[in-house]
Amino acid sequence: MTPTTQPRFVRADGPDKVTGSGRYTADLTLTGMLAAKFRYADVSHARITKLDTTAALAIPGVFAVLTAADVPDVHFGPFVADRTLFARDVVRFEGEVVAAVAAITPEVAQRAADAIVVEYEALPVITDIEDALGAGSPLVHTGWSDYGAADPVVRDRNDASFSSITKGDVDAGLAEADHIVESRYVADGCHAAPIEPRAVLAQWEGDKVTIWTSTQVPFDARAGVCETLELPANRVRIIVAHLGGGFGGKCGFHYEAHVAALAKATKRPVRLLFSRREEFLAPDRRREGMVIDITTGVRNDGTITARKAWIAIDNGAYTADAGFFPQLAAMHVAGPYKIPNVHVDAHLVYTNHQPSGSVRAPTAPQTCWALESHTDEVAAAVGMDPVAFRRLNAVDTGAVGPSGQTYGEIGVQQCIEEATKLVGYGQTLPDDEAIGVAIGWWPSFAVPSGAYLKLDGDGSGQIITGAQECGTGAVMTLRQLAADELGMDPENFELVYQDTSVAPYDMGATGSQTLFNNGRAVVAAAGQVAEQLRKLAAEFLEAAPGDIVLADGHAHVAGSPSSTVSIAELAGIAAGGELLIGHGSGAPPAAPPLAGSSCVGDLGMASFVAPQFSCHAVRVRLDRDTGVVRVLEVGAAHDSGTIINELGALGQVEGGVMMGVGQALTEGTQYDDQGRQRNAGLLEYKLQTCADTPVIRTHFVQINTPDAGPRGAKGLAEAPNVATAAAISNALAKLVGKPVRRLPMTAERVWEAMQS
């Protein structure tokens, strides 16, 4: 079913955002509010030998100084319970919180944090992920075997989570090949870098706490507070004001419990505001560095016979939500290709770096960059045009993928066709320009989600949803779904959202899942109200409920447009009787079955629900004297199913592409030899500016996908971030004569590749 609402779309939260009246968490104040500051470890691995807060507490204006001794002794973590609120005995990365201060002003709080005496005994700093996997490596967590963990998680020494995918016989497949291509690619870690640094404000009323926080995942944040402070869910209320971007960086549970604990200790509201530097150093959500080895066997006719790969992912000091990354990366290194024989081993490796976590399509951009750069090497080995090679080997409708999933209708071949057309692939270019092409994929995440919908007596509606708006417009688009269902205008609905005590559960602005799952919930909730309206209209118009049509703000009898009553009038009738209230959730689709493969450490990612496909074709220019690259033009074709809100969808693609350009060329974390970040600021960690932007042309391949979300929509927010760096790499390889095997492909790295 195609949407009936118009493409013209103005965000419900838009006027607030353009006039400056909109409130973000850092804009909120409460009477009597104190300021929070953290004392961080500052060293990457050490045993705490002394921790003395006396001097800090003695500073006038300091209300509380908290350490591990002041909160319940709880280990937490969604996959491995390796984390505590405050460091206990050992610190494992520079941004680990050792103590928290609440004081009368931020300046006093900072002075107090600095006055806390912490002494350390140095422990070996583990920074190299390959070394860390070695038998002789010191351990980041010596007591790891005592930590609780999710059942499928395979752990071994510094290997925090191991996954493999095996299909067919990879050695036999390689033996059948005419050419075997081996490649190694290494990606640096990088950051989500939302423009809003995070903020948390907490206030207790009796034994209940309300926490305003800049989180993408309010319910996850609530669960974290409940777990670590040992509170039931109904006594913790998480409210999110406008959220200034997240990109995964604000997923998970971060500092809500620290601030709540300070507020409890001081009997005052307490607010924490992060600086940009803290935003870089402290949260357990940065994009993981990776080492990727790929071997592919190919016949002279271009068909792939086998793929073997080995992946090591930098987990950092704690596992956060990265437990499923090995399996996700394994799927991405296998790629959306028809390969009969596959074996991939993927390791998530503890180091003393900042912990990794879901940043916009975790593991995918780096792995796609490696795989697709490798794919161009494989195509070259058999003398095939890289686009023709992809057309031949990419999965298609009815094909079996690398993990044994058989695909329903999918649009990867159409994506290749459209993206290459968008940039004129094959045209003659100046000798400092080239076009590179890459394909990518990404699952839709099917998870439970809920919403309420009500119409009040005047006929105006409210959607009360657990979904979280992080800027993508996904929550804004819910109004369209409700309006379509009820024959009303989107403007008839107000959104009530981002409050865990008001709305039912939703996973949050993560996994591109909002419209996919909460959309289903809103459609279901609206459907209940539609049923009620049809019943009321049937009585009013003396017709059968099944004959009532809801359209243009009215209910009418099918075939008799003059037999009509306004929905507002029906709502007025309902206000005197059975109220118009709907609730919805709807069962999420099950993961498609796999055949013929086996997975160790199976965390559910080897099978992609409603998979999304993309192809990016990118024209770049290389300054051969310096290695500086400029991206001139991007053609992005996406199969994300039905596009419900085209303006919003285009914004997702354009933003995702630019993030990909940054990741390709200028965004990479640099560490010193002690595992500390050297470029934790926006001058040295370079986001792309408005002046750097290429022309971005987008095409949506809209086909009917099995198990899709409402109206046939799949996810979209992460997919555009997957293939851009890979396409840039392939363009660059044509100009340099070989791939640049380090990500980001900085000017200096490009120049180095040209030297050798």
Binding site: L665, E684, K686, C690, A691, A747, E748
Partner: protein
């Protein structure tokens, strides 16, 4: 802590004599304080309202640029664009429109960062710095002023009043080029300014090159005139310039670039600066900033 707004140069000098630090746009001072480089001084005198210090005047002796001239003003000033193009190139590359709007030439010069973009152009123009205190005025050359990164030979009570640039001979051109990883919000990783004066026959009459961010201060490349005078500005000349620049630089490795990459790139920048300066000396109009004609700076 005290804060005063000077309404005359005399006010400002008196405040400096009493121990105040001057602030014009303030970004270096405020950002530096927040990043723990140096705490905000106890006493500040704001000099941004001394409008007599923001004038740009062409005199018989050359160009006098008030210390408070902003980057935005310099990149648009007709005389600077036409005759001191390298300074316009550099001004147009600084930070963003807002930083160009607030940042001043005097602030740059007295901050003495080896990565300042305006420094190399000033050096190739042989600029003199006019410093004034309650005890008088003196004129200092830039090599005498800049003693190290962030450090000058000026006394604490001396205020930078103006930069005085020598008159430009006929058939002269100049350019400033820098390496940039993105097209805005950059800091120089390496940069080079060049001034070229052509003889009537089109050969080089005078060539000066100065380098950004490859030594503790902005440095001039020595010995170019001896090597290049009388030769055409051709491939050989440019190669010689690139070699000299690379050899005479002393770059460090840091998070922005390795020493070897910097050494390579400073040669590229010097070559491009001389090439562009030579073309401008020959009467060719190349838009400000000249970076846009090269590499990443080029428009789509």
């Amino acid at each position: 802590m005290s804060f005063t707004i000077a309404t005359s140069i005399e006010d400002a000098l008196a405040a400096l004599a009493a121990g105040a630090r001057p602030v014009a746009g303030g970004s270096d001072l405020v950002v530096g304080a927040r990043h723990g480089k140096a705490p905000l001084p106890d006493s500040i005198v704001a000099i941004d309202r001394l409008s007599e210090l923001s004038t740009i005047t062409l005199t018989d002796d050359g160009l006098r640029i008030g210390a408070l001239a902003t980057h935005a003003a310099m990149m648009l000033d007709a005389t600077i664009v036409a005759s001191y193009s390298a300074l316009a190139d550099a001004s147009a590359l600084v930070g963003s429109p807002a930083t160009r709007n607030v940042g001043t030439l005097g602030g740059n010069v007295m901050n003495a960062s080896p990565a300042m973009d305006t420094g190399a152009p000033l050096l190739v123009f042989g600029a003199m710095v006019e410093l004034r205190s309650t005890s008088g005025t003196r004129s200092v050359s830039l090599p005498d002023l800049w003693v190290g990164p962030g450090s000058t030979s000026a006394a604490a009570d001396e205020l930078c009043i103006a930069l005085v640039l020598a008159k430009r001979p006929a058939r002269s051109g100049s350019a400033y080029v820098r390496l940039e990883y993105r097209r805005a919000m950059e800091i120089a990783v390496v940069g080079a300014a060049a001034s070229v004066t052509l003889n009537d026959d089109g050969t080089a009459g005078h060539v000066a090159v100065a380098l950004t961010a490859v030594a503790p201060t902005i440095v001039a490349v020595g010995g170019l005139d001896a090597a290049l005078i009388g030769r055409p500005v051709d491939e050989d000349t440019l190669a010689a310039v690139a070699r000299a620049a690379a050899e005479q630089s002393a770059p460090i490795s840091d998070l922005r670039a390795s020493d070897s990459y910097r050494r390579h790139c400073v040669g590229v920048m010097a070559r491009r600066a001389v090439e562009a300066a030579g073309r401008r000396a020959g009467g060719e109009a190349i838009a400000i900033p000249v970076n846009r004609a090269y590499g990443i700076g080029a428009s789509r």
